[in-house]
Amino acid sequence: MPPPNDLSVIGRRQPRLDGAEKCSGRSVFADDVDLPGMLCGKILRSPHAHARILKIDTSKAEALPGVKAVITAAHAKGMMGGRRGAEPVFADDLVTYKGREIAAIAALDERTAEKALQLIEVEYEELPPVLIMRHALQAGAPLVQADKPGNIWSDNIDSYGEPEQAFDTADLVFEEKFSTSVTHNLFAEFHVAVVDFTLPNKLTLWTPTQTGLLMQHALGPAFGLSVSQVQIIHLNTGGAFSGRGGVRPHHYIAALLSRKTQRPVKIFAAGDEEFLVCRALGENDYRMRIAVNKDGTIKAVDMDAHMDGGAFPSEVGYFGWMAGLCNSWVFPLQGNRLRRRVVMTNTRPHFLPHGGMMLTSNAAIMQLCTKIARSLGRDPIDFLRQNAIEAGHHGLSGEVFASCGLKECLDIVRRESGWDQKYGKLPDYHGIGVGIGAMASGAKGAFKHDTSAALVKIGEDGIVTLYTGIPDMGQGTHTTMAMITAEVLGIRADQVRVVAGDTDLTPIDVGAFAQRGTVQTGNAVKNAALDARGQLARNAAAQLGADEDQLVFRGGKIYAAGNPDKCLDFARVVYGTLHSGEGRFTMGRGFYNSPLKIKTTSWSFGAQVAEVRIDPETGVVSVLRVTVAHDVGRVINPLACEGQIDGQVFSAMSQLLYEEVLSDEGMYLNPSRLEYKMPRTYEMPEISHHFVETVDPYGPFGAKEIGEGIVVTTGGAIAAAVFDALGGQYIHKVPMSPWRILRAVRARERSAVA
């Protein structure tokens, strides 16, 4: 392998390999799939949040010419969807949230399907719903699920280290309550499922997803198929942002309709329907406590959260756990305690938004840290730096942080943001804030393994084809994987073709979530490329009269280390390996599974400084600039890394300042791309990108993640800047909408007068 300072592909600004397809309209997304005989599927949803279904009469819909199938719960007996199979695909007799799937139609065209929906007659007996978490917790509240008293789905306390002792002995304890609103995972491409299930032993699903494997594992058993009999085609995925982590009711329903009609079926979640298919975060109320000594040592953190899990909470509590746990990834805590009670309500099931609950909890933590620093008369960056962990630190729950550039990141953002000239010196309502964060790469726990595999095929012309199952939702992982392959084989990235997005063609990959792509799949790809290289090395070594392990693959040439003048052409070696008496075809295989028992091998770390200006009359927060420094281990593709930073800063700003699903009596008031506000061009801040390369021992070429680590940290930095701009006033609720900011402005004015 080339030494780390001698890389020829990695570290270059590599434009996306699929750029020409995507920029010319050639890229095929699921909605572009147009199969012969394909029917239009539509779902009838409950208009009530809580109701008993007394009767469903589908006869009129069935009689409408052009209608090919009408299905209800009767056609999906025992079929459980959702995460961990907690959610029946159709409501059977009880509806527990507005928008619940009641029936579905397949028809020749959309117009007929829409008409048929109107012809399905459903008689409901409306029941009193419980729509707000606060109400669900009141004594005597209606129960969402009869066997969950008090509407408590789960109540877990995890205690790491010695939190009680830390809080008892600390000089100071800071405590504050925070809350978040219902959010939506909005991505450019709408939810869509196209299913061909016309042969009994083969189900093919075209859909955007972060993981073909989890979808295979969900759909296979539901339809009596083995995993490999389910083919997931995710050609292109139009954004995911934590919102396409698994199978949803419309996937099952499209399959049911296709099997029944013996024709392909497409379901497109039109308009406001996307807000029902979505499983983003619900309301959270949480109390954060931080124990700190006067010398500035952070000793312990305690988070106590109530989380609205909606009608089928599944694993939402897990993200509360992560949100508490991640504090011990940046601070060397003596104790960390996290309690999260997951509450059920008659609302859409909740799962996670981009950045999980970590973005909002970090916004709370970084406001608190700024407060503590001010109280102790300390500069916030100094205060965080004093408490920042370093490489080699052992976390409280078994983590070993093999690489960590957190302090370097803090130093960079201090310098590059002009912090020392600005902090404490800005005019009123103009603030600067710092945030730090860390993010784990890896998803052990979804399965016992966290395996990615890859195949590298080298054609006789020297063109390399890489087969990988990792979905590219825009993050650019396919280009990253091609660069890793090219680096190992000493060729250019554009000489690697990537075959992906089809579980029939590609080897196993757990998927593009939990920040696992670069580390897990990257290692698998590297191993496959090394395997292929080994096959060529035998031939090349013989020709060069050198040892195989001395060979250098670089610039399309193969030579013995130290003797680049005597070299072989890569493509000719490939050709010769096949066109010989042995006739060997070069095909490398590799896989990677984390060698550790815990979920994660590697953590990225980052620090960011945000500068904001608040209009004290309107409460509008303008984010002026964000300075980002991130320890990514190693920068594989600077162009893609910068793009990741831009996008995550956008996403964090959007969630922190804008995004909120408004509702009244369970009815969403803004389920549209016009009224669910996300910022556009004018609102974007200036962003500067800085990277710290700590060369992690686990990641391929030392690389770590650059996804949600950014989004979490930006959340903290902007929140801290708003806190600073308000002269040290907390904003307790996310999003920090103008009217919430204005309340704080008024409070500040009142306290100034007093």
């Binding site: 408004l662 009244d664 009815m667 969403y668 389920p671 549209s672 016009l674 009224e675 009217w739």
Partner: protein, 325 residues
């Protein structure tokens, strides 16, 4: 979300268009740029039998410079063209500003001035798909008899979010409404009603054909506050006009939009600054006086109290802008 079944008709002359509107009675809907009509059709809030396109009527797309220094603008003129029209920018900068404030570049490349003036009211409860609305009883917009915003209301309380009428009201623009039977001129200040369903006095057989703006040499200003720039309806928008120079004024008019079912013409603050001038104290007194005239604020995507505060802020800012212009 398909468009409901209907007949689409392109008209090639104004006469033909007016005849068609007369014949179809209430079952026709005029389509200019389509951006508002098709939005409402997708949500099945509009289900016309006939969509009557006026896009080919050249006479509705002209901007005519009048000898008195005013302008006569065809209702079918595109907002994008008006935003850059030299005479408009020259003579009516506040109006030009209001045109540029509408939605996005994309929308302005399609939408017409007439369409913005006749923009249908919007409501948090009904601006969702038909399926979504089924959990609610039918309201005025969906052939029912209640308003979800205030259940006891005898009328629809949906909001008028149009930007350009605010500027046109302070400029004293007059609308020409034509029908097969004749033509009438209605000052735009008298065009809107307080009913979110039938929010203008335009009859089903009538077409808004022209907007005439008289010559104006007064100072004018337009301001819009929106959750996002470049692509949004206003939280609050305001237009104002006054004569005189500096703090000295004798005639002031102020209009606030995106607050209610119709643009609200504020009388009391206008009276205060007309009498006391545009000094800081007078402006504060004027701002303090608007509460009663705004009436109850309802049906909001943002908090009512916030909207009210922003109305105050924008009125103050627009008066300061006048003083400094």
């Amino acid at each position: 979300m398909l468009l409901p079944d209907h007949q689409y008709v392109t008209t090639n002359s104004l006469k033909e268009c007016l005849r068609l509107l007369a014949e179809s009675r209430e079952k026709a809907m005029v389509v200019g740029g389509g951006t508002d009509v098709i939005f409402n059709m997708r949500l099945k809030l509009f289900q016309p039998d006939v969509a009557v396109s006026i896009r080919k009527l050249d006479e509705l797309q002209q901007v005519e410079e009048l000898t008195n220094g005013g302008l006569r603008i065809g209702a079918g003129a595109r907002l994008a063209d008006l935003a850059e029209h030299p005479a408009i920018n020259d003579r009516y900068p506040a109006f030009a500003e209001s045109v540029r404030a509408v939605a996005s570049t994309h929308i302005r490349n399609m939408a017409t001035l007439g369409g913005n003036i006749c923009l249908h009211t919007r409501c948090a409860y009904t601006n969702n798909s038909e399926e979504w609305r089924k959990g609610l009883n039918s309201c005025f917009k969906t052939e029912g008899k209640i308003c979800h915003v205030i259940q006891t209301s005898s009328r629809c309380l949906a909001i008028n979010n149009a930007d350009t009428p605010l500027a046109l009201i302070i400029l004293g623009a007059v609308l020409t409404l034509q029908s097969a039977g004749g033509s009438r001129e209605v000052p735009i200040a008298e065009f809107y009603t307080n009913d979110g369903m039938d929010n203008t006095v335009l009859r089903p057989d009538e077409l808004l054909t022209h907007i005439t703006i008289p010559p104006v040499s007064d100072r004018t200003a337009f301001l819009k506050l929106a959750p996002r720039q470049g692509m949004d309806f206003a939280t609050v928008a305001v237009a104002a006009r006054c004569d005189g120079t500096g703090e000295k004024v004798s005639k002031v008019s102020i209009v606030v939009g995106s607050i209610s079912t119709n643009p609200i013409i504020l009388h009391e603050p206008s009276r205060i600054v007309s009498e006391q001038g545009l000094g800081d104290e007078a402006i504060s007194a004027a701002v303090d006086s608007i509460r009663d005239e705004l009436g109850p604020l309802t049906n909001l995507f943002s908090r009512a109290s916030y909207k009210r505060q922003m109305a105050n802020v924008l009125v103050r800012r627009v008066l300061v802008a006048l003083r400094e212009s």
